[in-house]
């Protein structure tokens, strides 16, 4: 079997995943508490929306259900980064302690091997909550369900995911250059809560900033317009799948560049 074929990598991934899940199962209490914690956080976000809209009917022309749609959309699009790329959070510690060197000696793609090591199961709770929110908002908004709309939703959810993964990769990779990159990751992690609001609330300068410099608007706003305002979709929405792929590729290159520069700690 060729060592760079997709099938080869899928087979390896399955094996690593099984090992990871087995080790997680030995900390059952941690798993249960973490899942409950995850769901609680999502409920808190929901309660926040509910309290806000009890006081105000709409924000910048967006009503309660449209905002919920945006919220559900961003929750679902965050699932891949939560489930598949969670090991980015440990990168800082691995680099600092020197453990990272072990990943460099495998005859497979370094980035793939590092990320595949952890699968974060609690992200699935978030996925379920996100789907529930999206469906609830969808039904109340009375959007027709056609195969085309579903296809569009899936494509643009994937776009949003790619952007979020790219942001997190880039933030995690800063640890190859600076100590204590936790704050960079924490900052990027907070971006996701800013993604819950329509970009139209911002002034012109910050709209530009959040679109092109820190692409927060691509996490939920631009992709969701395809479903929410099908008659009036801006060009930025149509090119967002390309933007997603480009950002992901760039973040991958940046991550690998940092990893290649890594020379261990000597221990």
């Amino acid at each position: 079997m060729k060592h760079n074929s997709l099938r080869f990598y899928l087979r390896i991934y399955r094996k690593i995943l099984a090992q990871d899940l087995k080790s997680k199962m030995s900390y059952r209490a941690d798993f249960i508490i973490s899942t409950i914690g995850m769901i609680c956080t999502n409920i808190a976000g929901f309660v926040g929306f509910w309290i806000l809209f009890r006081n105000f009917p709409s924000i910048s022309g967006w009503n309660y259900y449209q905002m919920l749609f945006l919220y559900g959309f961003s929750l679902i699009s965050l699932t891949p980064v939560q489930c598949l790329f969670d090991n980015n959070w440990s990168l800082r510690m691995n680099v600092y302690s020197g453990d990272f060197i072990k990943y460099c000696f495998r005859p497979i793609n370094l980035f793939f091997y590092y990320q595949s090591e952890v699968f974060d199961v609690k992200g699935l709770g978030q996925l379920a909550f996100g789907i529930g929110t999206l469906v609830y908002a969808w039904v109340h908004l009375g959007i027709a369900v056609t195969p085309l709309v579903i296809l569009k939703t899936v494509i643009f959810l994937m776009t949003a995911s790619l952007i979020m993964i790219a942001l997190q990769n880039a933030a995690a990779a800063t640890c190859f250059w600076i100590q204590n990159s936790f704050y960079v990751m924490d900052l990027v992690f907070k971006f996701k809560s800013y993604a819950n609001y329509p970009i139209t609330i911002f002034g012109r300068f910050f709209r530009f900033l959040f679109t092109f410099v820190m692409p927060i608007a691509f996490i939920a706003y631009y992709p969701s317009l395809v479903i929410l305002q099908p008659d009036n979709v801006p060009v930025l929405t149509w090119i967002s799948p390309l933007v997603g792929c480009l950002f992901f590729w760039l973040s991958y290159k940046y991550w690998m560049y940092g990893a290649m520069k890594y020379s261990g700690t000597g221990s």
């Binding site: 941690d30 956080t41 926040g48 105000f56 002034g203």
Partner: protein, 267 residues
């Protein structure tokens, strides 16, 4: 009383945080970004409401309240839950317990240095930025003094709650899940995400009966009073003092009972 040992720990903390200058800059940047997002979001919300005052709070009041709540959060957050949890998991806790100082106060004083640094490096710049953005809506007067006293109480209450939650890790060996639940409860019920004034009646009453509102709501509501009368301020401070005593005593008792439970895997 031998103060020297505490001051030595504070000094060490200050020197340690001076090592991480970049993280301070990133934290201030993050705060500024939040200031921008909150500014535009609440401007849009107030524009939709059509009135200047909602639930007794003007736009500037809300902005000051929310941004300073985040600044206070960054300044007070000491990741005590993580620290205790990691110390338990790695077995390092044994060494900490051997120190000629109570673990609870050792941890607090070793963080006190970063309190001082965070206050100067992150809280003050944010505070000044808020004053400029809201064009002097922050009243300057005796209320600043009450605010300072109130923040000291907040630090103690916050630390005691953190310490209690950290103690739970002795039983569960789960850090992430416990910590995220704590964060969710504290940020929502203390009014750090949405001012308590916007809460529905029943929920607000419930929040007032819990210690969390003493962490962020109490100091901020004091700060926002233009002409604070002792009759207004003293009950708030009194309640904070009450929660201080209760949480300190409870956290000490809980630790004392739990420490017998400790199981250390190596070290």
């Amino acid at each position: 009383m031998n103060l020297k040992k505490y001051i030595t720990l504070t000094r060490a903390g200050i020197i340690e945080s001076l090592q991480f200058r970049l993280s301070t800059i990133i934290m201030v940047l993050g705060n500024m970004l939040y200031l921008i997002v909150a500014y535009y979001l609440w401007k849009a919300i107030y524009a939709a409401a059509g009135t200047d005052i909602v639930n007794g709070m003007t736009f500037s009041d809300t902005l000051i309240y929310l941004v300073l709540a985040t600044a206070l959060y960054n300044f007070m957050e000491m990741y005590a839950v993580w620290e205790i949890g990691r110390a338990i998991q790695s077995g390092k806790i044994v060494l900490d317990l051997l120190k000629p100082m109570e673990y609870r106060s050792y941890l607090f004083w070793s963080y006190s240095g970063s309190f001082v640094m965070n206050f100067i490096a992150t809280f003050l710049p944010t505070f000044i930025a808020v004053c400029i953005v809201t064009k002097g809506a922050v009243p300057f007067g005796i209320n600043l003094l009450f605010f300072a006293v109130s923040v000291i109480f907040s630090v103690i209450i916050n630390y005691s709650i953190d310490f209690m939650v950290g103690t739970i890790c002795l039983f569960t060996e789960s850090i992430w899940g416990i910590n995220i639940m704590k964060q969710m409860v504290v940020t929502l019920l203390s009014g750090a995400t949405i001012p308590l004034a916007f809460f529905p009646e029943a929920l607000r009453k419930a929040a007032y009966c819990l210690p969390f509102q003493s962490i962020y709501h109490a100091p901020l509501s004091i700060l926002l009073q233009r002409n604070p009368q002792p009759a207004d301020v003293l009950p708030v401070l009194g309640l904070q003092l009450f929660w201080c005593v209760v949480t300190v005593v409870l956290s000490k008792l809980f630790w004392k009972v739990s420490i017998r439970q400790i199981t250390v895997n190596g070290g």
